[in-house]
């Protein structure tokens, strides 16, 4: 009797554990409603996919920028304190102090729109209208010398805007360009002349908390 029950139990369990696999789909979760997808799917791509209807002028963007952005990014996009610099920097990428701004470095204008829409202003995300985002993007493009003062940015003309540094990006090529880092037998003995200290973090002196004095026993 007990043996029979055990066998029946096992059979039932086996049926339970194999059932979802037989069905193909697990069946958990539910279909997302179009309104739900629309609420979250706000991302924008370089080809303009995902842009909402709307438009905004450089002039309107300047006003919005001064109210919403300038306290961190500076009145002219020069960045306050350590906040990101948004304007300028053209021609600096090979220098000792490269300035990576929308105009000098970013490959696509869509990144500006997407980021402002999803995450700006810092601490008050999703508070700008789509027209506001178009206008602020237009103003930043204008400050970077990409569009003229009377430009009105819209869903329709967006993908025509090109940023100057787009062609300077290329896909990861470390496996080719750094092929020599793959070595069979790295040197183990007498690999180099005696090493000399050429730099010390202590001289830079930017580490939080001083090193405690140490006593060797």
């Amino acid at each position: 009797m007990s043996k029979f029950r055990k066998a029946a139990g096992l059979a039932l369990f086996a049926a339970l554990v194999t059932a979802p696999a037989l069905a193909g789909k697990v069946g958990l979760g539910r279909e997302a409603l179009p309104e739900e997808v629309a609420a979250w799917d706000i991302d924008v791509r370089p080809d303009g996919a995902g842009l909402p209807p709307g438009k905004g002028s450089v002039g309107d963007g300047e006003q919005l920028y001064l109210q919403q952005c300038a306290s961190c990014h500076g009145e002219f996009g020069e960045g306050a304190g350590r906040w990101p610099v948004l304007v300028g920097g053209q021609g600096s990428l090979k220098s000792e102090g490269p300035e990576k701004t929308i105009g000098s470095f970013w490959p696509y204008a869509s990144t500006t729109f997407d980021y402002i829409k999803r995450a700006m202003p810092y601490g008050n995300a999703r508070s700008l209208s789509d027209d506001d985002v178009y206008a602020i993007t237009a103003f930043l493009l204008n400050q970077n010398g990409i569009v003229k003062d009377d430009f009105v940015l819209s869903k329709e003309n967006f993908s025509k805007v090109k940023l100057p540094n787009e062609q300077s990006f290329y896909d990861d090529d470390r496996e080719k360009a750094e092929r020599h880092f793959w070595q069979k037998d790295p040197c183990m003995k007498n690999c180099k002349p005696d090493a000399k200290v050429t730099g010390r973090a202590r001289m830079v002196d930017v580490t939080p908390e001083d090193g405690k004095s140490i006593k060797v026993e």
Partner: protein, 425 residues
């Protein structure tokens, strides 16, 4: 012979194979086991903890480290960032051992602060190029078949970024502490994507966070299907808030920024999105002014965690050198250590689990006579990649990089045991 202490020392000694130096250091070993002149009061006096009752079981419903370990904490570098809500702190690697990072010590990197999310209001949506867009609750995910547990390191691409132009921060917590290693519990991303049904033109997956930065990255579908996870557990308990509670994505071996926390959405598309964190950030500006993008893999890297500036040598004689090695390309095959700045190397002893794309622990047991040392470690992975020196890396990448600094670290141990972050010839 085996009972001759001198023989044992020289046989086990770190410098055993390094010629003249070895003799000097192992001789210094003689007489290290000193006789105690006076009885030790720690033994002869009855201590309070030996006489009186300790805490009851209700004292700490969630246990904390001993108060004597209060210095073992994440720390930040205030001048690095404009605000602490978009900032980073660092794992105290110098004070940890083994391969698993305790949950409360895993470094944090937020772009819009660490949000407190009610899991009953958290949803995961899958949309885009799928047969059926889906919404899951946390309960749905925890009922889903196919749950797995896997250990992976997570390293911020900017780990060591402050050191590109030269030695800057004195402590492996600051130079290397944007890494942690955790056992995750969750589901392969593939099973969720299969449930939604990825269309044939679905080539990229974009995870998105629910926090105020709404973090997004583009992940190729091959990687998403191969080994990415959607997880709710870390080291046996729920994700910590600062690590993405209640849900995050795990992208093994690839830069930490892609491991989107507070994961609320996965979109499938036919092209990458080129969002902020994969264009203006997390791209590698090279000396010629051009930039590499999609540099996702974290190359092999290692660091000696002790001795290091925050963990100086305090005693001559026997000491344990310890460190960590890891590779985003696979499994650590070997770690070599030098004490003379890279002239001569010895292979370290690896202990503990050796797992792909996981931190791996190594040791060298050695005797120290108080001489100055230039200590480095060099990791090799099972693809044959050998961790380069900082100079070799700068030769290819220039000085304007921020990310992917996996160059060999040098610690100068001075004769008083103090240890410094240095650059060498």
């Amino acid at each position: 012979m085996d009972h001759d202490p001198q023989f044992q020392k020289s046989r086990r000694g770190f410098l055993g194979g390094l010629g003249a130096t070895a003799a000097g250091l192992s001789l210094a070993q003689a007489g290290a086991a000193r006789a105690q002149a006076k009885p030790d009061p720690a033994i002869t006096e009855i201590q309070d903890w030996n006489r009186y009752l300790g805490d009851g079981v209700a004292a700490n419903p969630y246990g904390k480290p001993s108060k004597f370990e209060k210095g073992v904490v994440r720390r930040d570098v205030e001048w690095l960032t404009a605000s602490r809500e978009s900032s980073v702190n660092f794992t105290p690697l110098h004070a940890l051992d083994g391969i698993i990072t305790p949950n409360g010590l895993c470094f944090e990197r937020h772009h819009g602060g660490s949000p407190e999310i009610d899991p009953s209001k958290h949803r995961l949506m899958i949309n885009g190029l799928v047969d059926k867009p889906l919404v899951f609750t946390m309960d749905d995910l925890k009922r889903f078949p196919g749950r797995v547990n896997k250990v992976f390191f997570l390293e911020c691409a900017a780990n060591g970024g402050m050191e590109w132009k030269g030695a800057q921060l004195n402590g492996c917590q600051f130079t290397h502490g944007m890494v942690h290693n955790v056992m995750y519990t969750g589901l392969p991303l593939k099973v969720l994507l299969d449930e939604a049904g990825v269309k044939t033109n679905g080539k990229w997956v974009m995870p998105e966070g629910a926090d105020s930065s709404a973090m997004t990255r583009s992940i190729p579908i091959e990687k998403a299907m191969q080994d990415c996870l959607v997880v709710w557990g870390m080291n046996g308990e729920a994700l910590r808030q600062e690590q993405g509670y209640p849900l995050r994505i795990v992208v093994p071996g690839w830069e930490g920024n892609m491991w989107v926390k507070w994961l609320r959405r996965l979109e499938v598309g036919d092209q990458p999105w080129h969002h902020r964190e994969e264009t203006s950030k997390y791209t590698d500006l090279l000396a010629d002014g051009r930039s590499r993008r999609f540099t996702w893999i974290m190359d092999a890297k290692s660091v000696v965690t002790s001795p290091s500036p925050q963990a100086p040598l305090k005693h001559k004689g026997p000491n344990v050198l310890s460190g960590l090695a890891w590779s985003g390309r696979g499994t650590i095959r070997r770690v070599d250590v030098t004490i003379d700045g890279g002239k001569n190397w010895q292979t370290a002893r690896i202990d503990g689990p050796v797992l792909p794309m996981s931190l791996t622990r190594f040791y060298v047991d050695f005797n120290w006579d108080g001489r100055e040392m230039l200590i480095q470690s060099r990791a090799m992975d099972d693809t044959g990649y050998v961790q380069p020196t900082k100079d070799e890396l700068r030769k290819v990448r220039g000085l304007n990089s921020i990310y992917h600094n996996n160059g060999i670290q040098t610690w100068l141990v001075r004769s008083n045991g103090e240890t410094e972050n240095v650059e060498i010839s």
